[in-house]
Symmetry: none
DNA sequence: GTGGTCTAGACCACT
DNA sequence: GTGGTCTAGACCACA
């Protein structure tokens, strides 16, 4: 799994890490039961601080994507076992609502937005 | 137009203001040529800092949603005339990409995501 | 409000801080809308690190006890407005279950446990 | 007796083991004089580290719940004969105090807390 | 002036 | 060897 960090981005590093792991899970590069690199190892690997990786892992744990145990490291959790499954959908709906409003305010319509969605779905799920 | 500020949200107040104006434009509560409340009036009205409203208006101006002239206040711009058309779509695509990945990592599939999108489109554009 | 920190306790300092604030809220020393001391001020006051206080405040925020905003400081939230209200009760029930089991395993019975509970209720709510 | 280890809990495994044995004693699944599984057998059975089981047994022995002799394994002790009788009650009272404070800070009152207690007592001692 | 983020380095608990 | 906690100090975003 490759996560590239952009230190100049306005997205915090820990959030970039979180998204990278989520992308890895979505792309099946990380399967349930797989061990993530240790906090220290990933920190050295990416050239960021240990605590930054730790925060990203803690967020992923709180959202149910991974489990962590003091002496055992971090492991990808089973899908659908997270504590944030239902609220996760609610959050995604909220963000979609906001995106559609921005799109409409910029002059778009429903069909144009659906096109954007289909394009991205094809990128991820294939055609 | 009503903008409600959620003090508990982790979204910055200036960003909530920005989104509120965009929502007003999208919902046709704010039409091109309409005048927005003055920075001072809105700040007093919402009980937030002057600088906060100022920042929100500046961002809206940078994205082409409104025009500002010293002395004449802020006015809603014509749709499609802004600087944000092309970059706006790119940003929306990026956010969609991320949302789909999170949704898939949480166990969702393409059809389920399309359902979420259609639900939100119906909320905004009507059925 | 007074919070005394025991650095030798096996309870983490941030957890002692969290409990102290909760006790303050329960004892009506902290009412909804009251401002908590700033992270820096409390850290200096108690002789602990800024980040330790920050973590305690973040936990209290996640449990809905307080709200925090970058330039505004921390404020005691309205009761019953937290995100953890229902799960809070579930957690308390779980801990009660465990305590009763330990009490029974040590030779206690239901009446004796109720006595312990009534004693503590009297300490907090008065007789 | 069945002890299920929750890998996602933030409670250390040795503590989950300790609580499991205490629950077994409280539920009369483990009677005074019964032999517990050997450290090795339980470790293999649960898929946890030998040291972890060892630590749990040591804690149970220190609290007077079990007795251990080299070669003869661990045996459930007589009730009320342990070293944990007096200190156990003090610890339980302390935890009750904390729970009541959290409950009150979340908007509860004495009657509501007593209801929670009675519900859990009924679960364990029957109605 | 406030909290948020990041870095650096230490010690401890757990497996 | 792993993550958890704490300290120390810096810079930035927000109000």
């Amino acid at each position: 799994m490759i996560i590239d960090i952009d230190a100049r981005s306005d997205v915090p590093i820990y959030e970039q890490l979180r998204r990278g792991v989520i992308a890895g899970i979505a792309n099946d590069e990380l399967a349930p039961g797989d061990r993530l690199p240790s906090v220290r190892a990933l920190a050295v690997d990416l050239g960021v601080n240990l605590h930054t990786v730790n925060k990203a892992y803690a967020l992923l744990r709180d959202d149910g994507y991974i489990t962590m145990r003091r002496g055992s490291g971090a492991v990808v959790a089973e899908r659908g076992a997270g504590a944030a499954d239902a609220p996760g959908d609610a959050r995604i709906e909220g963000e979609l609502h906001r995106l559609i409003l921005e799109h409409k305010a910029g002059g778009g319509d429903a069909a144009a937005f659906l096109d954007l969605v289909r394009t991205q779905l094809a990128r991820i799920y294939g055609e």
